[in-house]
């Protein structure tokens, strides 16, 4: 399904950040993974701003 969605974004020159895919209701480790994604997004935004 990740591939299904990324293929549909082919017009956009976007960098894919590691998806967070879980089974069932989110648990402690899943929230940690989401925190890691938030950190990665922050870092990417900062790096983009530095480049720009």
């Amino acid at each position: 399904m990740v591939e299904q969605i990324t293929e549909m974004l082919s017009n956009l020159k976007v960098q894919l950040l590691e998806p967070v895919v879980i089974k069932g209701f989110p648990k402690k480790e899943d929230f940690k993974a989401l925190d890691r994604l938030a950190d990665e997004i922050l870092n990417m935004h900062k790096s983009y701003e530095f480049k720009g």
């Binding site: 299904q4 969605i5 020159k13 976007v14 960098q15 950040l17 879980i22 989110p26 935004h45 983009y48």
Partner: protein, 347 residues
Amino acid sequence: MKPRELKPNVYWVGAVDWDRRLFDELIPLPDGTSYNAYLIKGSEKTALIDTVDPTMAEELISNLNQLDVKHIDFMVANHAEQDHSGTLPRILKLYPNATVVATPKCKTLLTELLLIPESKIMAVKDGETLSLGEKTLEFIHVPWVHWPETMLTYLREDRILFPCDLFGSHLASSDLYVTDEATVHEAAKRYYAEIMMPFRTIVQKNLEKIEDLQIDVIAPSHGPIYDKPGFILEAYRDWVYASPKNIVVLPYISMHGSTRKMVKHLVSALVERGITVKQFDLAKTDIGKLAMALVDAITVVIGTPTVLTGAHPKVVYAVYLTNALRPKLKFASIIGSYGWGAGWWNR
């Protein structure tokens, strides 16, 4: 609504569509729209700039009658789309001596879409002018805003730009001019996001093309007229040129609450990190709002559960639209929860 004078011998003769709520059977119109047509009476010739959606043809005809227009020499078709050109055939019947003025590409489209005979259409070159006596029309080709045939018309002596859809807004209003900039800014941004954003790089070139024009008034084909054109020109520069901002757009669906819980956590985490988030529950959202949010965002995170081995169909729809609108996004991610069949996530 009755005809209204913009400048001496320049009139708004269009129609306000207060009740329309959907355009192209796709785009929500929360505030209705208008189809702006303009009549210019020169000392020698009379020109009509664009027409109205055929559903409101009577409004245009009534306005022309109220102005006692006995003769139209030129009918300028800035754009072949039917909400502006669709009433041309009726007007041609009422004013059989009129000549339609359009770009060569628009000429072809008008013959194909509206079955207007080629002999009734005069193709004009980029930069060509047409004298109405003491008023002069200049035609500026601006293809792909948002069809391949589009052009702008500039009324030199009154410094009025008639850009058709460019700078427009879907906003029904009893005010001829912009009176509430915040409301019009929102409507114009929605319009830009849905209609113009896919052609952003071309819009850039076209903005450059009109940079040196002396413009007192921008009279678009939808929404209020700009008597302070700097307002909309500045907004367009921001939407078109500015770097994407520190914003994450998060469209999602949750069927049983797991993906929603993930979204809630991620939104909090992003906000704690100083990032602006715009969250959209795709079960309820207005896609125009989503499109508007995409204008400025740098990242999109898509939240979806699995439905029959794939993404939720409403997510697929939103992703398709996001891709088609070609916003400035630089980063993307996906979050979601499945109940069974983990293998599908990797396909």
